[in-house]
């Protein structure tokens, strides 16, 4: 075998290992039916919407974060950090970035906000973004392209402000808290209905019911309806 052939054989041996793991970031099992391919494809965008958009976005990033990914959140002035930790975000790899008040960037071409998000996409594997202002269509396209190029995942929390749809969309259509009664108990769990949509491989409509969180504090699929105590 010649030198070149050995090299080619080695390349072949090495490649598949890199591919399977490299292309998708892991998600919690509860998301398996909601996110095509059972993982967040690197270079794609995800949008969450509805009454529990923030929790849903954090839960979607949780498995990747536990797996060693760095997560940045831009424009969440009132994020409940404790909730993020409880949903499974590894705080040692979690960074919060405040949105700038002004929209004028270093060269007026690109807003400072977009430049900051682009810089984060370069290094962080998951970037959660809540648009505090209207995102220019050009900035949105540019960020999506940057995300694709760098293999990160851009999560748009709340659809307001974005002019273009994401590759995968998840919308909470119904959320119900449980555990509270008239004057006693405390919030324990929340049952949400999530409807999935998106482009290409995600275009098939999907629907799932999740505990966000469950009574044990996890994010789980609703397996069966609980049996009512008083039939």
């Amino acid at each position: 075998m010649g030198r070149a052939e050995v090299a080619a054989a080695l390349v072949e041996q090495i490649q598949p290992i890199a591919l399977a793991r490299e292309q998708r970031l892991p998600v919690l099992p509860a998301f398996a039916s909601l996110i095509p391919g059972g993982g967040l494809r690197r270079g794609s965008t995800l949008a969450t919407d509805g009454p529990a958009a923030t929790s849903l976005a954090l839960a979607a990033a949780a498995a990747a974060s536990q797996d060693g990914a760095w997560v940045a959140a831009v424009g969440f002035p009132s994020l409940g950090l404790l909730a993020a930790a409880e949903l499974g975000i590894a705080l040692e790899r979690f960074v919060l970035v405040a949105s700038p008040d002004t929209e004028i960037g270093p060269d007026n071409e690109e807003t400072a906000w977009a430049a900051a998000v682009a810089a984060l996409v370069d290094a962080f594997e998951v970037v959660l973004v809540q648009a505090t202002h209207r995102v220019k269509a050009r900035d949105g396209r540019r960020l999506a392209a940057r995300t694709r190029e760098r293999g990160a995942v851009l999560v748009q929390v709340g659809s307001s402000g974005w002019s273009e749809g994401a590759d995968v969309t998840l919308e909470v259509t119904d959320a119900r808290w449980e555990g509270l009664a008239d004057g006693y108990g405390h919030l324990r769990s929340r049952r949400v209905t999530v409807v999935g949509g998106g482009r290409r491989e995600a275009s098939r409509p999907r629907r799932a019911e999740l505990w966000l969180p469950s009574i044990d504090g996890w994010v789980e699929s609703v397996v069966a309806d609980p049996v009512p105590l008083h039939a």
């Binding site: 923030t54 705080l91 960074v95 919030l187």
Partner: protein
């Protein structure tokens, strides 16, 4: 020749030598004034001990950038004598004397001129080799205390005799010195008398380096071959940088690039030339030497790391741009160049495979994150980026707080990001799950009972009536279910910060769960469970 200003950090801070003061880093003395030394304050001493020995001690924090900036005029004065001034660290620099001495008529004449040319109280030591010259400068300091001129010259060829009576601590390798002392060796002369091959065999490269120093030689044999040109890294700045920060940012990238190239060759840089040029052709060129030669005995040659290189570029530019009007550049910096002047094989520690930190953590990702954070800080301001850390508290916004990302080392393990960091229990905490939105400014609301009156809480923490309606922003919601109160009575000892409040969880008819708080008769929404 070594030119040294004793206790530079204090001199730069503007503290007179007769006032007891010390500069501390991590609670240890790193420098102190002569007055403090007279009171038995020593380097490496703990702050408490230092203050016990000298109660009137003034405590200062270290400001490396100020030290570097203030040293710039000294270097500029020396540049009148020679173009090759090597800055070992702020406060100390060295240059070869062969040419200048001949021109100015001998070492003594040159040293006298140097002392006269520099405004600061410099000590000048002349010897063969920088190590001996440095100690000659210390001897000069002792001479100056007696009132002699602050110059000490070791005649050529007599370096070994000069060094022989010095203590082993001069090597600045405490571990090695300790071992040698237990072997019965107390001076550099004793150590130098050992056979070189045995020292190398017993103490490794770091020991061999120390042995060479003790014998009055250079730490490493001279290498005459110039470093290959492909190690020179440079960048053009467009638009020109007239502030330090943008240039320093570019320098950071250059430093990383240089470090990567050195790494690939298995080399480290021990002497670096930093060149900056402006639009109008002004030029700042400085030689920086790696000061801490193999400090911990076993680490071998460590060289200048990427961070250290970037720091030195920033110091140099800071000193140049903020110099007096006469010496300041008249235009923005357009060109930066890093020129590794002395490159040696990295025989020291191996930090593991690239991207693998200790414990198998991916420090490559952390480094990338830190770099991206620096970039975002440059765009949005240093306060824009923050990271969470646990702190004690009873409310959702208290249990985790945000600290500026610049204040922590993200590449290292941070205990404060783990929930067990807060050891003490905080009774009165709300049960899990926590709200995903915590309003920085509580939103004022009204919580009404069935008859439309505002619900209050009595002294035994029972609501006056079950809450039935919640009015937010003029819109009224029916309360489907509620629980509480979770009372908090905090800081009753402090009249200004005393806070007594009752917290309720309410779920309204639109399915939203909120945390509402009653404090001083006013209701507000503290958090939303969304």
């Amino acid at each position: 020749m070594t030119v040294w200003v004793p206790d530079w950090p204090l001199f730069a801070a503007g503290v007179p030598a007769d006032e007891p003061a010390a500069v501390f880093v991590a609670n240890r003395v790193v420098a102190c004034t002569a007055a403090a030394r007279a009171a038995d304050v020593r380097r490496h001493m703990r702050r408490r001990e230092a203050q016990a020995r000298c109660p009137s001690l003034r405590v200062l924090d270290r400001d490396v950038e100020r030290d570097a900036r203030m040293f710039e005029p000294v270097v500029q004065a020396l540049e009148a004598f020679t173009p090759r001034v090597e800055i070992t660290r702020p406060g100390r620099c060295a240059f070869p004397t062969l040419g200048p001495s001949r021109y100015f008529g001998g070492d003594r004449a040159l040293a006298d001129r140097v002392v006269a040319a520099v405004d600061q109280p410099v000590m000048v030591g002349v010897a063969d080799g920088p190590f001996a010259a440095e100690h000659a400068a210390r001897t000069a300091y002792v001479a100056a205390q007696r009132g002699d001129p602050p110059v000490w010259i070791v005649e050529p060829g007599s370096v070994a005799e000069y060094l022989a009576p010095l203590s082993l601590t001069a090597l600045e390798q405490p571990d090695l010195a300790d071992v040698l002392r237990r072997l019965g060796l107390h001076t550099l002369g004793d150590f130098a008398a050992l056979p070189a091959a045995d020292v190398l065999g017993r103490f490794g490269p770091a020991g061999a380096e120390a042995h060479r120093l003790a014998r009055g030689l250079d730490a490493r044999p001279l290498r005459t071959a110039p470093p290959p040109l492909d190690l020179v890294v440079s960048a053009e700045l467009d638009p020109p940088a007239d502030q330090v920060a943008p240039a320093a940012f570019v320098a950071r990238g250059l430093a990383d690039e240089l470090h990567r190239r050195l790494d690939a060759r298995g080399s480290v840089c021990t002497r670096l030339v930093v060149i900056a040029e402006t639009e109008n052709g002004e030029r700042s060129e400085r030689v920086w030497r790696h000061a801490e030669s193999s400090s911990a005995g076993s680490t071998g040659t460590s060289g200048l790391g990427a961070g250290a290189i970037a720091d030195r570029v920033r110091w140099q530019l800071d000193g140049w741009i903020n110099a007096s009007v006469r010496q300041r550049p008249t235009a923005g910096i357009v060109h930066l160049e890093l020129h590794p002047d002395e490159v040696v094989a990295a025989d020291g520690r191996q930090l593991g495979l690239p991207g693998e930190g200790f414990g198998g953590r991916d420090t490559g990702a952390a480094d990338r994150a830190v770099r991206a954070i620096a970039r975002v800080q440059g765009l949005l301001g240093a306060d824009a980026v923050s990271v969470p850390e646990y702190a004690g508290g009873r409310d959702p916004d208290e249990q985790l707080r945000l600290v500026p990302a610049g204040a922590v080392d993200l590449t290292a393990d941070r205990p404060a990001v783990h929930a067990d960091w807060v050891a003490a229990p905080w009774p009165g905490r709300l049960p899990n799950p926590s709200p995903a939105t915590v309003h920085p400014q509580p939103l004022p609301v009204d919580v009404l009972d069935g008859t439309g009156r505002v619900v209050m809480v009595d002294g035994r923490c029972t609501p006056t009536a079950p809450p039935e309606r919640l009015r937010v922003d003029g819109r009224s919601h029916r309360i489907d279910s509620w629980a509480g109160p979770w009372p908090v009575d905090e800081r009753w000892w402090d009249p200004e910060r005393h806070s007594r409040r009752a917290r309720f969880q309410v779920v309204t008819d639109d399915g939203t769960a909120r945390l509402v708080v009653l404090e001083r008769g006013r209701w507000s929404v503290a958090a939303t469970y969304d």
